[in-house]
């Protein structure tokens, strides 16, 4: 099977006091290797919930999610952490770099928590920073970088472990439109040149337009 991600009849219900709130309702779709998929929808539509589930940060109330064919909903917290380190890259709306680490160290972080043998760590960090065009900013810490630069570092961090899939939750929402477009173009070119599979959420129509496929979600259901 060539699917990177398979989402099968996934529902997610939260409890708010005594009331059950359905964030996702029987959602199914799959993402093929090398796809560049946008999930679009208004705030509160379930975009972030869906990305959290695919990202193994949360577990579905019902249904199953497979990453590279591996069912994830029954995994323990530790096993999900290992799976995230091995197979997933994350890009956040608020960049979420570790402020006490330099750009280089932030990119290096995923390689250190899940050491892989026989690969040159330094070369990979350097290559990842090169790809996002920030090789010369390696020694800077996040507060010394602009928002766009920080997001590039975050993308390098997401890519450095050569993940099966990169998940980006509204990666441009905290950037001005020109910078946002640059970030999307960067992601798009990494997707084209290196066949990195991207799933990202957005409510910016200009960004939706560059996606291979647009999944529209509202009230927890795909349209």
């Amino acid at each position: 099977m060539d699917d990177r991600v398979a989402v099968e009849h996934v529902s997610k219900t939260y409890r708010l006091g005594n009331v059950g709130v359905t964030a996702l309702d029987d959602v199914s779709f799959s993402v093929a290797t090398g796809e560049f998929v946008a999930i679009a929808g208004p705030s509160g539509s379930g975009k972030t919930t869906l990305l959290n589930l695919i990202g193994c940060l949360d577990t579905p109330t019902s249904g199953e999610i497979r990453i590279d064919g591996e069912a994830v909903s029954a995994l323990s917290a530790g096993a999900r952490a290992d799976l995230r380190a091995r197979k997933l890259g994350f890009v956040f709306q608020t960049f979420n770099l570790i402020p006490v680490l330099t750009a280089w160290e932030n990119v290096e972080y995923p390689l250190l928590i899940h050491p892989r043998e026989g690969r040159d760590r330094r070369a990979r960090v350097a290559a990842a920073l090169e790809q996002v065009g920030l090789r010369d900013r390696a020694r800077h810490r996040p507060p010394e970088l602009s928002g766009g630069q920080q997001q590039r570092v975050a993308i390098a961090r997401a890519l450095v472990g050569e993940p099966a899939l990169v998940l980006a939750d509204e990666p441009t929402a905290n950037l001005d439109s020109a910078t946002g477009r640059d970030i999307v173009e960067l992601m798009r070119s990494l997707n084209r040149e290196r066949r990195v599979t991207f799933v990202f959420s957005t409510h910016d129509p200009r960004i939706m337009s560059v996606a291979d496929r647009l999944l529209e979600i509202s009230d927890g259901r795909l349209r």
Binding site: N52, G55, L57, D58, A77, G78, A81, D82, L83, R84, A85, R86, L88, F90, F92, T94, N96, I98, P99, V100, L101, E105, Y109, P110, L112, I113, H114, R157
Partner: protein, 409 residues
């Protein structure tokens, strides 16, 4: 682990003001331990040395059985050949003074008033070295050329209202049990600083004591040795034991450690006070660190969510924060060591006067020793308490829900 250590060190310096306040609290706590511990050790030392030098010496030698039964029948346990033993003991390394004592008791009278005394027949020259801390406050020391002389503790002299030159009569029983009297002249009044001793003790020349007790001239009750340093006691004791074995002598040995009861009482008392202080400082450190770590973790909730999203396991998060507590502990220990040593030196240099402690008649100057064992204890306490105190906040940090932590602002 190197990654977490790097993060721990950098995060410690992230909120400098908070870290400095926490370190200051820890530093003062550790310094308090160092200063109080150093003070207590100087008291131990003072009590030990004053007891050794004014009374018990470093080593005492008796006829075998004296320690157990000598109280009831003191004259059944006499060392017969003191001069020969003295010769041999004097040649041992580290031995400074060898002297002999003959204890007796009875009544002392001015003619008008009478009271009980505890007396010692001593060798004036030997005893002078040994009683370095029992200073003559009136008159002179005993002297061999003045065989009738007696010196009294200051309390005893005061109770009688006697001064040097006055006559006294000592009444006691001889070895055989007969009553015997000795006319003496007060030669001097001394003060040892220990009230019980100063109120009841008197000293006469050894030959006079032997005469009034009807003993041979070589017979003494105890031989007292003073060494060059207290630390050599065990070594010299071993040499004397060897000597006793070689010559097949019927003797037993006691060291100051067995005899200085008050020293052990003081140690016991101050040891407990010190333990209470240690406990207070530990609690202080634990609360300080718990507070600091809890705030740090709250502020960094989203970072915790981020590193967990990147695949850090819960135990990694625990390690990160426990290491941070450990780093704080090490820094607090260093601050405490520096502050404690400086304070100890400064207080000793200033020379604060304290009133006499209970059971003593002399005030003293505060001395703070810098004791390596106390330094180690203070440092260890900071580090261990800080590390342990960060365990619970770290565990809490690792339990966060990743999704909620990522939403945290």
């Amino acid at each position: 682990m190197a990654l977490y250590a790097k993060l721990a060190v950098r995060n410690v310096f992230r909120n400098r003001r908070r870290t400095l306040i926490t370190l200051a609290a820890m530093g003062f706590g550790a310094a308090a331990i160092i200063v109080f511990g150093g003070f207590v050790h100087s008291i131990y030392f003072g009590v030990r040395e004053s007891t050794i030098r004014s009374q018990v010496g470093h080593i005492q030698i008796y006829r075998k059985g004296y320690s157990e039964k000598g109280n009831l029948a003191p004259y059944d346990y006499l060392i017969a050949d003191y001069p020969a033993l003295r010769e041999a003991l004097q040649r041992l390394p580290h031995v400074r003074t060898v002297t002999a004592r003959l204890g007796f008791s009875g009544l002392v009278s001015t003619g008008d008033t009478t009271t009980a005394f505890v007396g010692a027949g001593v060798v004036p020259e030997g005893e002078m070295n040994l009683s370095a801390l029992a200073v003559i406050v009136d008159g002179n020391e005993l002297a061999s050329r003045d065989p009738r002389g007696v010196t009294l503790g200051v309390g005893l002299a005061r109770a009688f209202g006697v001064k040097p030159g006055d006559d006294l009569t000592l009444l006691t029983t001889t070895k055989a049990g007969a009553i015997n009297a000795l006319a003496v002249k007060v030669r001097g009044v001394w003060e040892s600083g220990e009230k019980a001793y100063d109120d009841r003790f008197l000293r006469v020349g050894l030959p006079e004591a032997q005469r009034v007790l009807d003993l041979e001239s070589g017979e003494v009750q105890s031989i007292v040795l003073l060494l060059d340093a207290t630390d050599n006691t065990a070594a010299v004791r071993a040499r004397i034991e060897q000597l006793i074995r070689e010559r097949g002598l019927d003797l037993e040995i006691r060291t100051w450690d067995d005899l200085a009861l008050r020293y052990h009482q003081v140690r016991e008392l101050f040891g407990r006070i010190f333990a209470v202080l240690t406990l207070i400082v530990s609690v202080m450190v634990v609360f300080g660190i718990t507070n600091t770590m809890t705030m740090a973790i709250f502020e960094r909730t989203r970072e915790i969510g981020t590193v967990m999203a990147l695949g850090t396991r819960r135990r990694g998060v625990v390690a990160m924060f426990v290491l941070e507590g450990f780093v704080l502990g090490v820094l607090g220990a260093l601050a405490g060591l520096a502050l404690g040593v400086v304070l100890a030196k400064a207080i000793s240099a200033i020379g604060i006067q304290l009133p006499p402690p209970p059971g003593s008649t002399r005030g003293f100057t505060v001395q703070i020793f810098v004791v390596p064992a106390v330094l180690a204890q203070a440092a260890q306490l900071s580090i261990v308490a800080a590390t342990l105190a960060s365990l619970y906040p770290a565990w809490r940090a690792a339990r966060v829900n990743v999704v909620e932590a990522l939403r945290h602002v």
